[in-house]
């Protein structure tokens, strides 16, 4: 901004001197222009500062509120757990469904709060990345076994193709797990009838390449450019499922970026989506 002001002032003086004979008038015009440009620069800078401060406060607010919400949510989850365990008395058959509703919804709130906290940390640049060596294949196999009951209940088959003998990667296993978990969860949820999810894992030069393909509802062409934005959910998804915060893919992309990888996708509405990502083998 300062350079623009100086440059404009000099140009004005030079042009003014060329066309106006009276040097005092030239100086006055140049001075007025400089003052005018300083006022604009000051206003613009103030606006940016206010915007940055508002964003910081908003992020801090989300962090504080989410953290405060965690305490009652933990209390709720454990109270429901002990009630459903039968440890302090059997629950009536009619009550079981209601306890399941309580458990499921407290789980949804917990997931939302966790996502909000993660987003807040991403925005504040405080998302921790604790790196160590591990096999990505092991994380994927574990997640597939965890998700198999959900997949079976949704009439979805999960296939895993691994090119074998892949090297370890050096990264944060819990964050990478969160990424794969999000992608696998989305893939299962957005298959509406009988479906197949194909997962591939191979080495590509100095990276490990991961791909997850589904034959689900796909992403409409017009929505594709927004898919990694916070709180965005495609219209066609909202038709089928109102649950979901729209934070998952934003978190996924942020983690992959921080982990030194890349992420992308291809999708066609009504046919399905393929999400891929790469992670460096060494940091």
């Amino acid at each position: 901004m300062g350079i623009i002001i100086i440059f404009s002032t000099i140009i004005t003086y030079v042009i003014g001197s060329h066309y106006i004979d009276n040097p005092q008038i030239v100086v006055l015009i140049t001075l007025f222009l400089a003052i005018f440009l300083f006022i604009i620069a000051f206003t613009v800078t103030q606006s940016f500062d206010k915007l940055a401060e508002t964003n910081r406060l908003k992020s801090e607010f989300v962090s504080v509120v989410s953290h405060q919400l965690r305490a009652p949510l933990s209390n709720l989850a454990w109270a429901i757990e002990i009630l459903m365990s039968g440890r302090i008395g059997l629950i009536e058959e009619q009550q079981v469904e209601y306890f399941k509703i309580l458990k499921e919804n407290s789980g949804r709130m917990k997931e939302l709060v966790n996502n909000l906290l993660t987003v807040s940390r991403i925005e504040q640049g405080t998302l921790p990345l604790k790196k160590e060596e591990f096999f990505l294949e092991d994380v994927i196999k574990n997640l597939i076994s965890v998700f198999t009951p959900f997949a079976k209940a949704s009439n979805v088959e999960i296939k895993f193709e691994n090119s074998g003998s892949l090297p370890k990667i050096y990264n944060d296993p819990s964050q990478v797990r969160l990424v794969i978990e999000n992608l696998l969860d989305n893939a299962i949820r957005y298959i509406k009838e009988k479906g197949v999810i194909s997962i591939k894992l191979k080495q590509k030069n100095n990276d490990i390449y991961f791909e997850i393909k589904d034959n689900g509802v796909g992403i409409p062409q017009n929505d594709q450019k927004y898919i990694f934005q916070k709180f965005f959910r495609s219209e066609n998804i909202l038709k089928y499922q109102t649950q979901g915060s729209g934070l998952g893919l934003y978190i996924v992309k942020s983690i992959i970026k921080k982990a030194g990888g890349k992420i992308g996708f291809q999708s066609e509405e009504g046919k399905g989506s393929t999400f891929w990502l790469t992670l460096p083998i060494k940091s």
């Binding site: 953290h67 965690r70 305490a71 933990s74 209390n75 454990w78 757990e81 002990i82």
Partner: protein
């Protein structure tokens, strides 16, 4: 009977853990703030301490530090049970002498119970 001192200001959790630990054959002693917790640790000499970090009067970190500096209580294993999950909090607690650090939101009740039993040598 083994005793467990639970230093936690949330009465709902005191109730839940009270019922759970009693079922499992343990005696639970409640402390709703850090100062009471320290006093009870010295007087009752429990077999294990479950310690929250956000507490009134004395923070969990202060309590932990004092417990580990006091000859009467330094050998009592301490499991930190909190919703704080920043790396610096975890590292600080472990350096101060916590045996285990559990983030409440990441564990089921049964999982916490398992950790308690393992620490007490009952598993």
């Amino acid at each position: 009977m083994k005793t467990i001192l639970f230093i936690e200001d949330e009465s709902a959790l005191q109730k839940t853990f009270g019922d759970l630990l009693k079922q499992e054959g343990y005696e639970m002693i409640s402390a709703l703030d850090g100062e009471i917790g320290l006093g009870l640790a010295k007087s009752k000499k429990p077999n294990l301490i479950l310690l929250d970090l956000i507490l009134p009067k004395a923070s969990g970190f202060e309590v932990l530090e004092k417990l580990k500096k006091d000859g009467a209580t330094k050998e009592i294993p301490v499991i930190v049970l909190t919703n704080l999950e920043a790396m610096e909090d975890i590292e600080k607690a472990l350096i101060l002498g916590a045996t285990t650090y559990l983030v409440k939101a990441s564990y089921s009740l049964e999982e916490v119970l398992e950790k308690v039993k393992k620490t007490l040598g009952d598993l």
